[in-house]
Amino acid sequence: MSLAVLLYLFYGLMFFYVIFSLFNIYHLLRFGSWSFVNFSVILVYVLLSLWLFVFSLQVLWGFDWQSPLFSADALKQLIGNFKLF
């Protein structure tokens, strides 16, 4: 199993995020007031979300996701260097 599984799970979370956000924005526009505060919060949220999406994908796509999920080498490296006492 490759690390890409985790990346796909992250894509799934992003998809859920978009759907959930659209529902929230719809509720705010449909049942809330058309005030400066309401629009500002929605705008800030959308901009922050876009920034987080772009930034996280830029960082994550820089890695090799085809490497195995459970790496014995990495485990050895980690355990071998731990000094418990």
Partner: protein, 185 residues
């Protein structure tokens, strides 16, 4: 002053009905949400500092570094998403006071919304409750309105300036009672 269309707030507005005021919870409640949100934003940073001091190796071994970064981004997505959801849930709890009635909207989650109406001439008793230091200093509290024939009280939690609000409702209540009984005669 927010621009609000009557259609969205009041279903089937009555004849000669005018919106007097829309009342949201006190701004401090919203500031609380933002503060909580800000605290949650620092959690990954604190974990990063702890790991870089205690287990710096974890941050250099490649699969672990990838997984931690992924978890970090997932965490920020969740925090942003639920922060916005909590904002929406609180922002859509408000009262509309008209010259004839009170309309209370209470958003409970995404797909659950309670809209209650109360004819002002039915108001029997208004209670204001300000408990604690912050509600007293910042002037916010709970407003309870008891009506004739109602089992539950009409409650507005964390209303800003609740005493002024109760006075306004009392004034409107008196006017509504006069109007109602004149029509009845």
């Amino acid at each position: 002053m927010p621009i609000i269309s009557n259609r969205k707030l009041i279903f089937s507005a009555k004849q000669n009905e005018k919106i007097i005021k829309n009342v949201w919870p006190h701004p401090f409640i919203f500031i609380n949400i933002f503060l909580l949100f800000a605290v949650f934003l620092f959690v990954p940073l604190i974990i990063y500092i702890f790991l870089s001091q205690a287990y710096p190796l974890i941050l250099t071994i490649d699969p672990l570094r990838q997984i931690l970064l992924l978890l970090c981004f997932a965490y920020y997505l969740m925090v942003l998403m639920f922060g916005f959801f909590i904002w929406m849930d609180n922002y859509l709890d408000f009262w509309t006071i008209t010259n004839q009635r009170l309309v209370s909207r209470n958003q409970k989650g995404l797909f659950n919304r309670v809209v209650s109406e109360l004819e002002l001439y039915r108001v029997q008793d208004i209670t204001v409750e300000q408990k604690g230091l912050l509600p007293t200093l910042l002037d916010y509290g709970d407003l309870y309105i008891q009506t004739a024939g109602e089992k539950e009280r009409f409650v507005f939690k964390n209303a800003g300036h609740p005493v002024e609000l109760s006075r306004l409702i009392q004034q409107l209540d008196e006017q509504a009672k006069k109007q109602h009984f004149n029509q009845a005669e």
